[in-house]
Amino acid sequence: MNIFVLMKRTFDTEEKISISGGKINEDGAEFIINPYDEYAIEEAIQVRDAQGGEVTVITVGSEEAEKQLRTALAMGADKAVLINTEDDLEYSDQFTTAKILAEYLKDKDADLIIGGNVAIDGGSGQVGPRVAELLNIPYVTTITNLEINGSTVTVVRDVEGDSEVIETSLPLLVTAQQGLNEPRYPSLPGIMKAKKKPLDELELDDLDLEEDDVEAKTKTIEIYLPAQKQAGKVLEGELADQVKELVSLLHNEAKVV
């Protein structure tokens, strides 16, 4: 089984995020593998261990992403590919990333491509489906279970808390939802082995892509932090009075009813 994982390096949203000059301040920010992509990597490793084959983790980004690729290799992936766009692209969006990934994948005879259902930074959830569309293969998003029998694949998909069972076939692209599995820690032997595993670096040139081919279709106008949450109000007194007060507040202060 030829398995590919689409991985993104993101900042850790559990850490404090600050913005300066319309950009997220990268100084002092912690960078991690997008958590949903961790499920994808874990699932890929499990499928490979059960079915045989090879797991290749791909990312589009800068040299900085090598650390996250090494982490994926330490978890147990076999190979990593960094498509470095640092020198070629100043601005990119989901179209850019998907186009590059699809261009890379088109002649790789992938049986299974797994990505995270969404990245916790941009949060678009578009890259996976777009890649599948470009490769002209079926895709299922937000999956919580994956079973492969020959070329038949049974997928459980999370639909806003309900489950949908879908039968489809390989080659296939799926995106991972929380609950798909429990990602492993990179073990110490894994970390030491990762040093010796292949990590290839490509640029747009290597994929015969011009900058125009992947030019972003969108523009980011502004980035800002959510407004500081105001302290709440706790109403007191008889229940009936509280309800009255609430209605009047919603009407006069919040002006929502």
């Binding site: 404090k16 100084d27 002092g28 650390k67 090494r70 982490t71 330490a74 820690y185 990179p186 073990s187 110490l188 032997p189 894994g190 970390i191 030491m192 990762a194 040093k195």
Partner: protein, 594 residues
């Protein structure tokens, strides 16, 4: 030893020679793999161990055994074990990082440390081929758990006064051991004990004793003040039958193993103390942000900022100096040939080389930990006294660190004692340096540091070294052979030396960071350096004065005091302002940051 070792930095030489920043190891030098290893360990401890701690604190030690096994699966027990015996043979820095992160879990960190450190290392470093083959693979995976049994009811610091005896049986097949070993970490579940006993009552030797050997048993679980989540029991040896092949090292040479293992135990404890202190700060700062009094978060009060910045500056000193020591070990141990590694002797010599640094790291860092948990409780106010807050456990857990692996008093006494020994053996030109200094001091003019960053701190380090040499030289000259009775002076000098080592370590680390990343990105490090150096130097001055007054009187004393005054003349840093500045980033990040 090969000529490679000639370029290595000599133990204790920092007092006599200056080094460049590129000669010291700093945490900024961690490799990507080392950072990943630290992260795996931290994630494992936070996600897998911390939820178990409440149960471990209630002595549910079957959980400790399970946790050790899962740690073994991740490779967290095999760092110091050679690959041919199922280990990972990692470098000393990786091994230290594991110890630092394990310490987050308090008593379980002690369980882990006793197993991989003092429990397994005697076999790693001094075991013969058969012993390594037999024991190490299972110790590296956690299938078997190790413990270290040196202390006895009547011999703690005086380890060689052990009463446990070993006698060869008439068939010559077994040593028969009799005695009691007290306060043995992991005794509740350990399978393998490294036990010290005197063969025929006089030849101090080490043995590998299995729990299942006839005559081996353990006492009741101790009810301790802290590190309750580690098992501590008496190991009872009643005609215990130990096969002759389980003698570890040579007959009568057990002290070589004991003292070298202690040295490693000491610097590892310094690393663990660092990990515990970081954690304490990580639970304390968020509390000061959440807790409000007078409608103001505690962290907005200047006194809170002062406390947080002081804790962090001490942490920076503890971190910089202990990893410098780890770097020294790594540098020296990695240069040993395979033959030397297997011989044991070169290993012992390498470890013994840095005995001073090990002692300094032990007492300095465990006292930083004690300071940090104490202030951590203080910042929690009454809630810090309640067990539902982690800081209460951290406070209790901290206390033992100043006692075990050689009390901090013993470790302080060792500093000057080891220096004098090294000087007498000609290993370090201490006396020559003192004499040259005495001449220099006659003509000494106070220095004026430049304006560039760290200029003042470098001067303080420089003068701190001179003060240390002055005090050590004076003590040796004045008291001669009786000097060892002057324990108060020994302690003062040890404190001066520890502060000098820490000051130099922070200065070199910050200098290195500025050279690499520029001043702006190194500002937090610079602030910690300025704060720590000023406060440490104040302490050096006080310790030196007390020492001079105790050793001299009359005109001689007045002359000495005037020399000291010249050496301590400087315009002090405004630490209050520096601390307010340093606290901003800490309070924002809610943890120790650089």
């Amino acid at each position: 030893m090969s000529n490679q070792t000639e370029n290595l930095i000599k133990g204790g030489s920092f007092l006599i020679e200056d080094v460049n920043y590129d000669q010291v190891f700093t945490p900024e030098d961690f490799s990507d793999e080392q950072v990943m290893i630290a992260k795996t360990t931290e994630d494992y401890v936070v996600n897998e161990v911390l939820p178990e701690v409440p149960y471990l604190e209630k002595h549910e030690f079957d959980r400790s055994v399970k946790l050790l096994k899962s740690a073994g699966e991740l490779g967290l027990l095999g760092a110091d074990v050679p690959e041919e015996y199922g280990g990972l043979a990692l470098d000393k820095v990786s091994s230290a990082l594991i110890a630092e992160k394990m310490a987050i879990a308090g008593g379980f960190g002690i369980t882990h440390g006793a197993h991989v450190g003092i429990g397994s290392l005697p076999i790693v470093l001094f075991g013969n081929e058969d012993q390594k083959q037999k024991y190490l693979p299972e110790l590296a995976t956690g299938e078997k758990i190790a413990a270290y049994a040196l202390t006895e009811p009547s011999s703690g610091s005086d380890a060689l006064g052990a009463k446990t005896v070993a006698k060869l049986n008439s068939a010559g097949t077994h040593y028969v051991l009799n005695g009691e070993k007290q306060w043995i970490t992991n005794a509740g579940f350990a399978d393998v004990f490294v036990v010290y006993a005197k063969i025929d009552g006089d030849k101090f030797s080490a043995f590998i004793v299995e729990r299942e050997f006839p005559g081996v048993s353990t006492g009741a679980e101790e009810d301790k003040m802290g590190i309750k989540s580690s098992s501590t029991r008496t190991l009872i040896l009643q005609d215990a039958q130990v096969p002759v092949e389980n003698l570890l090292g040579e007959i009568g040479r057990g002290h070589i193993i004991a003292f070298n293992i202690l040295n490693i135990g000491r610097y590892k404890l310094g690393v663990g103390a660092l990990g515990g202190a970081k954690r304490a700060l990580e639970v304390t700062i968020p509390y000061t942000n959440q807790r409000q009094q007078f409608k103001t978060p505690l962290s907005s009060f200047n006194l809170t900022k002062e406390k947080i910045a002081t804790m962090a500056s001490k942490l920076y000193a503890a971190e910089s100096s202990i990893y410098r020591t780890v770097g020294l070990f790594e540098e020296r141990m990695s240069k040993l040939t395979e033959e030397e590694v297997n011989g044991g002797k070169a290993v012992a010599a390498s470890i013994a080389e840095y005995a001073i640094e090990c002692s300094l790291g032990k007492f300095f860092n465990t006292e930083v930990l004690d300071y940090v948990v104490d202030e951590g409780v203080q910042l929690h106010g009454g809630y810090g006294f309640m067990e539902e807050y982690e800081i209460a456990r951290a406070y209790r857990d901290s206390r033992i660190n100043r006692i075990f692996e050689g009390t901090n008093e013993i470790n302080r006494l060792l500093v000057l004692g080891t220096y004098l020994k090294k000087a007498l053996k000609g290993d370090l030109p201490l006396f020559q340096k003192v004499m040259a200094l005495q001449e220099e001091l006659m003509m000494l003019m106070p220095e004026e540091p430049g304006d560039e960053p760290l200029a003042q701190e470098k001067m303080l380090v420089n003068n701190g070294k001179k003060i240390a040499l002055l005090a050590a030289g004076l003590a040796a000259q004045k008291f001669g052979k009786e000097v060892e009775k002057e324990q108060e002076i020994f302690v003062n000098i040890a404190d001066i030396v520890a502060n000098v080592y820490a000051m130099e370590s922070v200065v070199l680390r910050t200098e290195k960071a500025i050279a690499k990343n520029g001043l702006e990105k190194s500002n937090q490090k610079l602030l910690y350096t300025q704060i720590f150096c000023q406060e440490a130097f104040n302490k050096i001055e006080a310790d030196a004065k007390e020492t001079l007054v105790a050793a001299e009187d009359g005109d001689m004393l007045r002359m000495m005091i005037s020399t000291l005054r010249k050496l301590t003349r400087h315009t002090p840093t405004n630490v209050i302002a520096k601390k307010r500045e340093a606290s901003v980033k800490l309070i924002d990040a809610e943890k120790y940051v650089l």
